[in-house]
Subunit: 321 residues, 2 copies
DNA sequence: ATCTGTGCAAAATGTTTGCACCACA
DNA sequence: TGTGGTGCAAACATTTTGCACAGAT
């Protein structure tokens, strides 16, 4: 499930790597790399060798072994340990760091990413003042199919689409919270220019939401089964509530003496928070569409922050005079 | 750093295991098991073989290998994978499940437990409906000493003391919060019998706190360096605030129209919460002193809950008449 | 033409087993 | 006295290397 373009991109990177190290591109390397890139999952040397031999029976085990080492060296592959007594290689290109859940019966492997888990892990290591080089979590268990004795074939999904799906879901939810916030806040503001600012931003967020919804539908159209793919990005949707106050929360916080200054301050805080939040999430996603979605989102929030700050300055200016 | 008693206890368990499986105790097995039990850390077969040979040069590698398998089988050892190309065996008896931080330079290994991390992990797996068999997290990095180029010998601590230390610290903090709560709540209650109940529980908690502080001092006396041992049980002290409201919080929640019924309800809620909390923590600690401390604590909280419930029933009874 | 790549076979590494002799219970 | 235990050596499984020949730039 890797597109031709992606394979081509990675082949270019591999060629560059070879040139840089005065190594040569050979027929064997080409077959091996191509086979690796076009196969999903976590291949052992032996498994890849078997695949390669289907295309060219003359290729030796050692060459596959050495080519995988080269791929690892140039950053296109990564060795992982799935505890089955052999080294397994997985794709790195456009794949974020992640952890594994492995079915001990059928060997099906699920990958996941949880920024919350990462944060917790970082906090723990920080206490010991270790400089982390790498870390991994592995969960071994029995998958639902094996629990029900009906092993079914593992479906293969385009991982970039999965990342995009998970990112879009979060971004849409955030966008909705944003719209809610600005509409609710606008209601509480009496001064026309201030209200107009909030309403304008609300409209902008609505537009963004529509864009995201469009992207979402396109994604579903492109890959009708994408919703069946296991969750990759684990996300605590309650965290959004901490960033974007709910309608009730807003009313409570702004209730009584309506204060435009306060509302603007709250909005700025919120935008900064959400900017930080989406930047952090983007950081977890190696070059993927998921990352692009989060970065775009972060940029929009930064933009809003500027707009609001201008309005805030104007209000304060006015107050001084 | 395993006491003679502990070694003896484990030897008994091993003997029982042998008997149950009609196996025999031999001179070699005795030496091997004893060496294993008396050595900390994560031993490979080869390392243990080396240690055993110091006591009895005639013991062969295979016997050490087979004895370690037997120890694993009977639940006194566990195989771990520290990614250094060999299987390593660690102690299980009286040691909770935990994860590892490994220094890639000097191989120093730190063990830690984070119930928060465990909870997160469980939540993630739940989404996939996997039945978890086991899981592990490994963090590889450079320890502070290796970062500073001054490798120092790894100090060895009595792990049970470390667990007790971490448990005591949390229990004391909880106890303090409890005392605070009951004193603050008592202040808000005008009816003498209600106030008396709260003050009595506050006194009880103070006594418990003293007991814990005594235990703490005894621990420090017993092992003067115990505070230097790395944290094992990671704990978010803010979590306590969610269980035991702070003095300000209490005043806020009970302010204005002082309602004894409300105060009692709040207290019951708190006791149930903290009972659950300490039970959960106890569950993470395999038979250790840490577990005992948490269980004792949970029992006390349950006791308080009963006391308060009686008082609550009395108040409600009175109201009906 | 030169230098790297390849495939084979062999070594290295770590784990596991077969077997003849040994020693608990 | 008989079953299981031990040590040795050999088998296994996987990864890694040496080397003579092949092939890419």
């Amino acid at each position: 499930m890797t597109t031709d373009e992606e394979v081509a991109e990675q082949l270019v990177l591999f060629s560059d790597y070879l040139k840089k190290n005065s190594l040569k591109m050979t027929r064997q390397r080409e077959v091996i790399v191509e086979s690796f890139l076009r196969t999903n999952g976590h291949l052992s040397v032996e498994e890849l060798h078997r695949l390669v031999k289907e295309k060219d029976a003359s290729v030796g085990f050692t060459t596959v072994f050495r080519t995988l080492k080269a791929l690892t060296d140039c950053g296109l592959a990564r060795e992982t340990d799935l505890q089955d007594g052999r080294t397994r290689f997985e794709h790195v290109y456009h794949r974020p760091h992640h952890h594994h859940i492995v079915c001990v019966d059928c060997n099906r492997t699920i990958e996941f990413l949880s920024p919350e888990l990462e944060r917790l892990q970082e906090m723990i290591v920080a206490k010991y003042q270790f400089r982390t080089v790498r870390h991994q979590m592995q969960i071994f268990g029995v998958c639902p199919d094996c629990q029900n004795q009906r092993p079914s074939p593992q479906e293969v999904f385009d991982s970039d689409d999965v990342f995009a799906r998970d990112a879009l879901k979060i971004a849409m939810e955030a966008e909705r919270s944003g719209v809610n916030f600005y509409l609710a806040a606008a209601e509480q503001i009496s001064r026309p220019s201030g209200r107009a600012t909030f309403l304008r931003i609300a409209e902008e967020e609505k537009k963004h939401l529509h864009d995201l919804e469009y992207e979402w539908l396109e994604l579903l159209k492109k890959d009708k089964n994408i919703l069946k793919a296991p969750v990759f990005l684990h996300f605590d949707y309650d965290a959004l509530k901490k960033i974007f106050p709910t309608r009730e929360e807003i009313k409570k916080r702004l209730e009584g003496d309506l204060d435009e200054e306060q509302a603007l301050k709250l909005a700025m805080e919120m935008e900064v928070e959400s900017y930080r939040f989406f930047r952090e999430y983007a950081g977890k996603f190696n070059d993927t569409r998921g990352k692009a979605i989060f970065l775009k989102f972060a940029a929009e929030e930064e933009d809003h922050w500027r707009t609001i700050q201008k309005e805030y300055d104007r209000v304060m200016q006015r107050r001084v005079h």
